[in-house]
Symmetry: C2
Subunit: 237 residues, 2 copies
């Protein structure tokens, strides 16, 4: 039986010391939802970078680059982390460099994991299937908000843990996993309503991003699982 742990913030990853586990990084609103969308629409590679300066450096070398902070596209970039930015046929087979407020930091802290894959509600069944096939312990790393806990990533963690435990190949004795599963159990029939008062939902609402929120809460419409190889995300085979 493989184990599941949930890490509620990148700043806590150091306390989940298990180099043999597969790490799933999630940032529902919106970095990992955007990445899953990108691969589904044919993007070839994504280079996640922690800082805007790194993204800018790649951009100056001619790379396609995306950068977002606090929900807003950085001014000298054309794309940010809206999933809809990545549904562009021009990006097919291209490499895109991405830096976001939380998601790319979460990838950074966990990049030395045995394997690192990227999850979102959009590809949750594919992620679950990948993990069942891999037969390894799992750590779900929530990007959170500036190192704090957030609700939407925790709901994803609870949903994924529930799928894995239902398969009877996984179990958990981790309190944060139990908490996430309980929260998902309350929210599952109306995640949009459950998140009504959440801090990030309100942040995005102020930016008129309701369409993005709805998209990011859609379950399992994509089959791609992004996986990190030598610092670059590609579509897992």
């Amino acid at each position: 039986m493989n184990s599941i742990q949930v890490c509620f913030s990148p700043s806590q990853f150091e306390y989940f010391n298990d180099p043999e586990s597969i790490v799933v990084v999630v940032d529902v609103f919106r970095a990992t939802s955007a990445m899953c969308t990108a691969f589904e629409y044919g993007v070839g590679k994504i280079i996640p970078v922690a800082t805007v300066d790194e993204a800018r450096e790649y951009k100056s070398k001619g790379f396609l680059a995306a950068a977002e902070r606090d929900g807003v596209v950085i001014e000298d970039f054309e794309i940010g982390n809206s999933p809809f930015d990545y549904m562009n046929p021009k990006f097919k087979d291209q490499t895109i460099v991405i830096s976001t407020t939380n998601g790319t930091q979460a990838i950074e802290v966990a990049k030395n994991a045995y394997k690192l894959i990227v999850g979102s509600f959009l590809n949750i069944n594919a992620v679950s299937q990948f993990l069942k096939n891999a037969q390894r312990n799992v750590i779900i790393v929530c990007a959170g908000w500036k190192n704090k806990f957030n609700l939407e990533d925790s709901l994803f963690a609870g949903a994924l843990a529930t799928l894995l435990i239902e398969s009877q190949q996984f179990s958990t004795s981790c309190d944060s996993t139990l908490a996430a599963m309980n929260l998902y159990n309350i929210a599952q029939n109306d995640m949009y309503g459950f998140l009504e008062n959440s801090s990030h939902r309100n942040r995005l609402r102020k930016l008129n991003l309701e369409k993005d929120i709805r998209h990011c809460l859609t379950l399992s419409i994509y089959n791609s699982v992004p996986i990190l190889e030598n610092g670059v995300l590609i579509k897992a085979k």
Copy 2:
């Protein structure tokens, strides 16, 4: 309207930067439950220290000292963090030095707060009343387990946040507070059962501490609110 935030781990306190808030530290199993019990039974002062070595140094100077790690009393100490250790008439008006696995570390990280008080289910109504009288923003700091999230401290945070919000003097836009309130709402009618599979409950069960667990989950039988003044806990007036 004053705000409530919940910090799920001492290691995250740095991200809750608000020197004007009152901090409530909780370690349900068992440090802060023991401290609340101690004051109710007449202990005069508690000196919380982060390390066993510090506790040993005080002990060598003739202080009454308690030390616990991983649920077990350290061998050269007579008391640990069982609330029942502190129901001793001999301790009346005495000063006790305490070091525990998680609780005293949580006090350490938050010791420079505007005010720091100690909460547990045992004195939750008294803590709630103290905060309503104080009319300040509140940060509830969960001791957790070795810097990770735990369920029992989160339930306390949810219970206290619920009491405060019901008073209509407080509100929250903090995701961890919303999560804690949702968890408490599920668990409130049977906290003992809800914690059945939690990691620390199992740790304590292995040590035959069911009696302690029952005691620590008893609501509001004590009126004392321990408060930190110059590094020493005393009973708030």
